[in-house]
Chain length 250, copies 2
């Protein structure tokens, strides 16, 4: 029998036009300052100016993008908030996890976050940021690799589908061993694996029948030393276990 296979392209034909229009929408989160001009977007995506302009008009009509009438540039509109709110309502995990994240943040003093496997990448859903001026912050909603960072490794280890296609070559072999270790210990650590100068710990959240979820803490290497990180482990595991229990008990 065939289980859910994450990371597979949906079957069937898609709408080329719609995809390009969505590319325009999704160009905004990637931009430095959130305001973008037509030519700028056209350059980024390799599209014709007139095309981009037509798409922007559609996006503005739908309230997903707003036009700054002063400089004639465009930015994301408040309607996007409705989308995110509805998305979060779907993910029961988030509501339930918030107190645990806060607890973990306060216990460690570092940023605590929640991530989820989506296809062959991971996405951070929420975080409670460290109060320290120097802190790590996850890019919420952005697809990040599964094969690097503590969150990624936890999600990869927890999935029924190991994502074998990701574990290739010599590096894949090493990672495979590491995943076994993660499964044994019940948590993963990353010391500058994905973002240099950033250390993190993560543990799986168990819940049957749903996509894999991970909870963890992350901070700057200068403060989040290997030694200090060790002291976070029991707190992390407690939080993960409690969250798993709440979620499986409905």
């Amino acid at each position: 029998m065939r289980v859910e296979s994450p990371g597979e392209r949906p079957s069937g034909r898609s709408s080329e036009v719609a995809e390009r229009a969505l590319d325009v929408l999704l160009a905004f989160p990637d931009s430095q300052d959130g305001e973008l001009g037509v030519t700028q977007i056209a350059g980024m995506l390799g599209l014709e100016k007139s095309r981009v302009h037509r798409f922007l008009t559609a996006l503005v009509n739908k309230g997903l993008v707003v036009r700054n009438p002063n400089n004639h540039r465009y930015a994301l509109g408040p309607r996007t908030l409705a989308l995110a709110q509805a998305a979060l309502r779907q993910m029961d995990v988030v509501d339930v996890a918030l107190p645990y994240l806060e607890q973990l943040r306060d216990a460690s003093g570092e940023t605590a976050g929640l991530a989820m496997r989506v296809g062959n990448s991971r996405v951070h859903l929420v975080q409670r940021e460290s109060h320290n001026e120097l802190r790590h912050r996850f890019d919420i909603g952005a697809p990040l690799p599964l094969i690097a960072g503590s969150f990624g490794k936890v999600l990869l280890a927890a999935s029924d589908l190991p994502g074998d296609e990701l574990l290739v070559g010599e590096q894949g072999e090493a990672l495979r061993k590491e995943l076994d270790e993660v499964r044994r210990c019940g948590f993963a650590e990353s010391y500058g694996e994905r973002v240099p100068g950033t250390h993190s710990l993560a543990a799986p959240v168990r819940r049957s029948g749903h996509a894999a979820v991970a909870i963890g803490v992350s901070g700057p290497a200068t403060r989040f030393t290997e030694e200090r990180g060790k002291t976070f482990i029991p707190k992390l595991l407690t939080a993960a276990a409690a969250l798993s229990e709440v979620l499986t008990a409905h």
Copy 2:
């Protein structure tokens, strides 16, 4: 000289296809449970099934929508979170306002929120919900009327452009008078105006050169009585003044 005119349709031609695809995306926040089927969406929007399916495929490819492989229905994906996060980053107001909202919530015990004028409607950006089991909650990101509710009236009164086209007929005349009153008092009240059984207060947040913003509190009529509401007014005005000051001082 012509000032920014909110609520005007952007000029020029839009992409019909893109708009329909976005309709499909925006159908999700409106649905009861966030999961929708192809036929269901087609029915809601009056589109052909095959068309909806093609749009959904595009949305899935971009990560804005995910397909539940069990029941073959669709839901909003985590990529929408990236959009909202980027949108919020744009709106400096939100970050700054959070402590004031929390303060207002704790002082009143009711839900405190922040709304913004977008075209000829208002959109709630953030809120800090009352801790009470019975509470009011705003639909974040959803377009709501300007001509009803305390937030709407404040935004209408504060705008340079009065939105005259909204103030028509006998009702319009009464509202016009009320807006003058709002400008004089510096706040607006609503007793079940928009949502029956819900009372609210709101005050304008002043900041030059930006869209109008309002801060306010809202709660169930049984608790948020006219009498008790009066005691919130000074707290509200203090919060609004403080927030205005912070924002104009950069």
